[in-house]
Symmetry: C2
Subunit: 309 residues, 2 copies
């Protein structure tokens, strides 16, 4: 069998983003961690990580990490049957990549009971879908929530539902920029908010009004920041309806054009051999995600671009 | 003088995180962008960027970017006096790094009026303080909000005030884990929430109760996600008071121990020769930040660690 002391050292260095923190986590000296990595590299005959800040896994390193995470999940299944094997008595960690808007809205409420029942600790990673799926492929996360349907090799994807976005602004913003009523041409010349280079929701909204080409925009890579900048009349943007129910009810934010939402599907990607914990979480999400997400009826193609999805 | 067509191409590739998007931004073909970068490299006699995904600047590339951003800010000052120089009529962009909790709470409200008056577009970057200050040094941002007082070379820092954090949990979480009343030892064995490897607020809180060493925790790198997971009874954690006034008033969240806050100072770092726009923003923040931040009276040393600060 593999020497899992060496593999744990590799996993700790990557997951903790450094040798020092890995040493702290494992209760070892930094030089002991270094030794283990070197020994691992001697065994596999090539480097397993790039000594950068933070360290990153090489191709072979990624394959080893993928293996470690899968073994961990399988160990957990065994431990529930053979508790004595559970050396440290610590809850299992489950690493999940998800889009910023899901974490800012429905995710916590959807998995709260699950975490309490299963005594699982979550390592959440906020990534756009390309990076999230890349992390799955590299074995850095066990599962991923994103707008892309296509699973990576060895994984399954299933539809959870869709996030409904609405194009919102503050009443002050509307009064300042549209004193004579709404005008689509003018919208492209008023500052929008954009989450980041992968957020095309504002582009899609403008395109749906027949406006193509560039538009003024702020960049704000934070879900709650995005909402706060909208409230502060800094720009208009597509915001998850779940996040702003109260603001819409109180009139602090208004829809730019009445009832013109954009829905973005969300898929749950998980390893096929991810162990029972992942199976349970998948069941749990399948059952509960509908409390927050709307049914998705659209075409997958139109969803290829989304706000950090 | 330098050839600013070449320098703009470099800035666009870095800021847009790719050649294709840089080309879109500048309205050029990708090969034109490539040509400009190559020409720039021929002139300076060494590579200005590493062709990775996304491309990153080399040391010399960073110095050039720093220069570009400073020139842009100075150009802005001139344009306000000589409007004809303003080729495109587009608002200036100001790139600012700040901690996640500031963006999720007071930042938007504090700069809303400023953005409208000055017609400035913001490029916000969420970073912890080390990376934020590194980006200042590299010339990638014009200013930075973080908990560290020490300015980088060529910049100034000034105190804006402090963020007040409170250790919070849901009533259900308290009932589940502390049915017989609060117990500090037990707190270390109930799941905490931690923002990321640089977030030591929970450690500090436990230390203030006499508890050192490890503790169970989830990782959740999102300010709003952090609050949502607290609401969903997934863990306890230090949350900015500004973010949860309503939850505290309604009793949806409660303080673990009555009135035991942790204050974290926030400093505004800005270039000394950053131009008038930056001077105005600095004045504006100096004047208004106190509406959201509390006065800071502590020692700088105790603030070296904070939640994504």
């Amino acid at each position: 069998m593999f020497d899992y002391k060496l593999l744990s050292a590799l996993a700790a260095v990557i997951e903790q983003a450094g040798f020092e923190r890995a040493a702290q986590l494992l209760g070892l000296s930094q030089s002991a961690i270094s030794q283990r990595i070197k020994l691992l590299e001697a065994r596999v005959g090539q480097p397993v990580l790039v000594r950068a800040n933070p360290p990153t896994p090489t191709e072979i390193g990624k394959r080893l990490l993928n293996h470690v995470q899968q073994v961990r999940l399988l160990e957990r299944d065994l431990q529930s049957q053979v508790p004595a094997l559970d050396e440290e008595g610590l809850p299992e960690r489950l690493r999940v990549a998800l889009n910023a808007d899901s974490l800012a809205t429905w995710w916590g409420a959807a998995v709260g009971d699950f975490c309490a029942q299963q005594q699982v600790l979550l390592d959440l990673v906020v990534e756009d879908q390309e990076v999230g799926l890349k992390r799955m492929r590299a074995g850095e996360v066990a599962a991923c929530v994103c707008a892309s349907e296509r699973p990576v090799a060895g994984a399954r994807s299933e539809l959870l539902g869709a996030m409904r976005y609405r194009a919102l602004a503050s009443p002050a913003f509307m009064a300042r920029h549209f004193p004579d009523g709404f005008d689509a041409e003018r919208l492209a010349r008023t500052p929008a908010l954009v989450f980041g280079p992968d957020d095309f929701l504002q582009h899609r909204y403008l395109a749906s009004l027949g406006i193509t080409g560039g538009f003024l925009h702020h960049l704000c890579p934070s879900s709650e920041g995005f909402m706060r900048l909208t409230e502060a009349s800094i720009g208009w943007g597509l915001v998850p309806e779940l996040q702003v129910r109260e603001q819409l009810a109180s009139g602090r934010l208004v829809e730019i054009l009445a009832d013109k939402p954009i829905d973005v599907p969300l898929y749950w990607h998980h390893w096929r051999n991810g162990g029972q914990l992942l199976v349970h979480l998948t069941d749990h999400l399948r059952q509960h995600a509908g409390n927050w997400l709307v049914p998705w009826t659209g075409m997958a193609a139109s969803a290829a671009s989304g706000k950090n999805l």
